[in-house]
């Protein structure tokens, strides 16, 4: 480690620049993919590379590389020279303390210690559960794990080494009845070891069951409904519809949104608090330090119904005159970090699901997410399935339920917040600026929202 530190320090020494950092990453991945009965992919890969960033007179320059060797000082000089040649801009970096730390993963959580045969047996077992369910015609099951060690050194004196693990799986079941084809998928994944994936049979069985049940579901008639959304869909809403608007790199380029997202503006009931928290133990979006060497934090985005904060990297924090929040993240050494969420969730409150059902005369209980689109404050999300609520009771399953609306109006229409926060991770992640998938966590309790526009497909 001392060798690496002196190699990196050598690369940054003598640069005529206000700030520079260098990040080296070594990682190891295993991936297994089943499609139906066929093992489609099984492989392991090894990566090593890094990224140099230089900041000078308001401009950034960066270079990523695979060869970690004595040519690094030359590469760093090239980047610094390129940045020096640029016209000055009125930008500077927010303060982040210089730190020295070494974060390690407990040996029991290290997926490299688990033989490939065990990983294969696990995902095959889950895939077989799907395949033997009557009505399921095809499947896709994916296992993935990674172990990563990053070393970060900055010209301000930070030196941080950090290990991270991810393990997870995803299962998708396709059910068919004649020309009626329905599918359902779900995933599980955290910054924890391989053992956290064991005993997930109930989740897998549920995937198969919902896919088959969807064959009998009818498309929902379009209209306005009172809806109860499940923790997963509510979490996706918190991340996609609202969380991205809190990212300061975006806000700093969009004046109108900056006005709409000003601290103090009310968008919800007193009970509504939305948080981004990179410090939650074991969650998919957790980390100790971000890729600028700033410690992960808990940041309240909405507190008591009012805008309370934004997510920052060092430059955006300085530009907006706010605190650096430790949200500068890169998917790998190939990229410079940009402002990203970590674990984004809505805090739980007092209501239980029965309270919510009791207060809905006619509505929908909407579950899961198939993805969607957001454009500024407008959003459209497809759910995975829903059930009609009639006189406070869940009745038949319906499908093709698409929710759309304006995020600020929708936040204002949240009437009840449940007591049952669930956090989700899974295998996928967030995509932004060509960097996908970045591991993130999201979650919420059940929410009751009045008058949501539901489009049939």
């Amino acid at each position: 480690m001392d060798n690496l530190k002196s190699l990196l320090a050598g690369a940054l020494s003598g640069l005529v620049s206000e700030y520079a950092d260098i990040r080296i990453e070594e990682s190891e991945h295993a991936a297994i993919v089943y499609r139906g009965r066929e093992l489609d992919q099984i492989g392991r890969s090894f990566e090593k590379g890094g990224c140099i960033r230089v900041f000078h007179r308001g401009n950034w320059g960066s270079a990523s590389f695979n060869r970690v060797d004595d040519k690094l000082p030359g590469l760093a000089r090239d980047v610094a020279q390129a940045v020096e040649a640029l016209p000055e801009r009125p930008e500077s970096l927010g303060k982040s303390p210089a730190l020295t730390d070494a974060v390690t993963v407990p040996e029991a959580d290290d997926p490299r210690k688990v033989p490939l045969a065990e990983k294969h047996a696990l995902i095959k077992r889950y895939n077989d559960i799907l395949l033997r369910t009557a009505g399921i015609t095809t499947t896709m099951s994916v296992y993935h794990d990674s172990f990563r060690r990053t070393s970060f050194l900055s010209s301000e004196g930070s030196f941080i080494t950090q290990e991270t693990v991810y393990t997870g799986f995803m299962c998708r079941a396709v059910a068919r009845d004649g020309t009626n084809v329905q599918d359902y998928s779900d995933s599980f994944g955290k910054t924890q070891g391989f053992t956290s994936l064991a005993n997930r049979e109930p989740l897998v069985e549920r995937i198969a069951k919902v896919a088959v049940d969807l064959l009998k579901a009818e498309p929902v008639p379009a209209g306005k409904y009172d809806v109860i959304i499940d923790p997963l869909l509510a979490g996706v809403f918190a991340h996609e519809a609202f969380g991205h608007l809190s990212e300061a790199d975006f806000l700093s380029t969009n004046e109108r949104m900056r006005e709409l997202m000003k601290v103090g503006i009310r968008y919800g009931v007193d009970d509504l608090t939305i948080v981004d928290d990179g410090t939650m133990p074991g969650e998919r979006g957790s980390f100790r330090y971000d890729d600028e060497g700033t410690a992960a934090e808990r940041t309240e985005l909405i507190k008591g119904g009012r805008i309370a904060g934004h997510l920052h990297e060092r430059q955006s924090a300085q530009r907006m005159g706010e605190k650096v929040t430790g949200n500068a993240r890169a998917i790998s050494y190939r990229h410079a970090p940009i402002v990203r969420m970590s674990n984004t969730y809505i805090e739980p409150r007092a209501f239980n699901i029965e309270d919510m059902l009791d207060s809905v005369e006619r509505g929908l209980y909407v579950c899961g997410s198939r993805g969607g689109m957001t454009e500024l404050e407008s959003f459209t999300f497809s759910s995975q399935y829903a059930r009609l609520i009639e006189h406070g009771r869940q009745t038949k399953m319906v499908r093709d339920v698409v929710l759309s609306g304006n995020v600020f109006e929708t936040l204002k229409s949240i009437e009840m917040i449940g007591d049952d926060l669930v956090m989700f991770g899974g295998l996928g992640g967030c995509g932004k600026g060509g960097q996908s998938p970045l591991p993130v966590g999201l979650g919420a309790p059940h929410l009751l929202i009045r008058n949501v526009v539901i489009g049939g497909r």
Partner: protein
């Protein structure tokens, strides 16, 4: 390094192939008329494919300290791998193709920034309301391949491309994009790019209306790839192997209009996907896909060719981190005889499409497309008038290309597509007007 990996794999009783990709990418970017960033990316990694006990294993690494582990992982995965139905190719003579120019390799980032600034300045004076993003990217990649069959070769490619996207806010948002393949080493024709963008920005100022119906539609060269890409899914040997290509048993049948001749040409000078050999060391060639409307064949790599009982067409594509897959190189739609002015003159009411979004969101394997026309103009009595809004073209590309009114006489170099305009006599156009 390649030789060491090969020797280690062979020492464990495997036939092996080592693919190494070593390259760099330099990108300069302007956003909304301002310089935004300069970035470089240096990439070097190894992919090891082994055939052991009749099965294929794979692993990849960009970490030279983990070569032993790379070899062990490839051998381990072979135990679960697919049956090996091909042999690694041996040495061959490289076909002639120009894939780099020294002016491109030596080009400085400063020069790239200068070009970007020239384009920004040229348009700023003409169209102050235009918000212009410019990206200029230069990539250089050296590929090395060694195998147990005696292959030991390397080849390189340098690509230089300019992308410009202008945003005009005028009765909604209008995006205007331009592209130049500069790989042959010539400097960009900044004036001509600015002229084209200006012309379209001016046309975007006047709004035109077209009611839903069936109209003659001209797809400008820039929009033709949206229609060709579903065909390229159909001709992919992987889809044939899986038994899902709609072209499965149709070689020799006339499926498209006789004005349509499409080829995949990996040997086009300075094509952005040109190489002497494919990513498995099989010589690139020009592969006819549709000849005057008749379907002539699929694109194969070694594995899909082996599974289908044919020879590889030299169409393997890959990055070091993944196993090869068949894929298109440079796609040519051969020019016809029509001139744009004449084609326009014959239209009383129709649509000229420059750019679409939403390609790839429908059942592309079946050839279905649902394209949102993001930049398109009304044609009235032979003249291009204003911009149309909220306009969709949905259909099936196999049906669309079966009835073509005209194919343009001039091919536009769009990097991996070299295509003229195509005019269809009648397509369904849906609008909100």
């Amino acid at each position: 390094m390649e030789d060491r990996v090969l020797a280690l794999a062979e020492a464990r009783g495997a036939q092996a192939e080592v693919f190494c990709s070593d390259g760099n990418l330099t990108t300069v970017e302007f956003r909304a008329g301002e310089f935004h960033s300069q970035e470089s990316r240096l990439t070097c990694g190894y992919g090891l494919r082994v055939a052991k006990d009749g099965r294929v294993g794979y692993s990849s690494s960009s970490n030279p300290d983990r070569i032993e582990d790379l070899v062990q992982a490839a051998i381990d995965t072979a135990a679960y791998g697919k049956q090996c139905r091909f042999e690694f190719p041996g040495p061959c003579v490289h076909p002639a193709v120009k894939t780099f120019d020294n002016r491109v390799i030596m080009l400085s980032a400063q020069k790239m920034i200068e070009w970007g600034r020239e384009l920004v300045d040229a348009l700023r004076s003409r169209l102050p309301e235009l918000k212009l993003d410019v990206t200029i990217a230069r990539s250089y990649r050296e590929t090395a391949l060694v195998s147990s069959a005696g292959l030991d070769t390397r080849f390189s490619r340098a690509v230089l491309e300019l992308y410009a996207t202008g945003l005009v806010v005028h009765d909604g948002l209008v995006w205007i994009s331009e592209y130049e393949n500069l790989s042959s080493g010539a400097a960009p024709a900044i004036g001509a790019i600015a002229d084209r963008m200006e012309q379209r920005a001016i046309l975007a100022r006047s709004r035109a209306r077209l009611v839903t119906g069936s109209y003659p539609v001209i797809f400008a060269a820039t929009a033709v790839p949206d229609l060709l890409s579903p065909l390229l899914v159909g001709v992919n040997g992987k889809q044939l192997e899986k038994g899902v290509s709609p072209l499965g048993d149709r070689i020799g049948q006339k499926l498209l209009d006789e004005k349509i001749t499409i080829a995949d040409d990996g040997l086009r000078d300075f094509g952005t996907r040109s190489d002497p050999l494919d990513a498995e060391g099989v010589p690139r060639r020009r592969i006819p896909l549709f000849d005057r409307g008749v379907f002539t064949g699929f694109l194969f790599d070694l594995a899909t060719a082996g599974a289908c009982g044919v020879e590889s067409t030299g169409s393997a594509a890959r990055d070091y981190s993944a196993q090869p897959q068949p894929g298109p190189s440079n796609i040519l739609l051969l020019p016809g005889t029509a001139q744009l002015d004449e084609a326009l003159a014959g239209i009383r009411e129709g649509l000229l499409v420059h750019e679409c979004i939403g390609g790839g969101q429908s059942n592309v394997l079946a050839g279905d497309v649902a394209l949102n026309v993001s930049s398109g103009h009304l044609i009235e009595n032979g003249k291009v008038t204003g911009r149309v809004k909220d306009t969709m073209i949905a259909g099936n590309v196999y049906e669309m290309f079966a009835n073509v009114a005209a194919v343009g006489d001039t091919v536009r170099d769009l990097g991996s597509y070299h295509v003229p305009f195509v005019m269809f006599p009648a397509l369904k156009v849906a609008t909100r007007d």
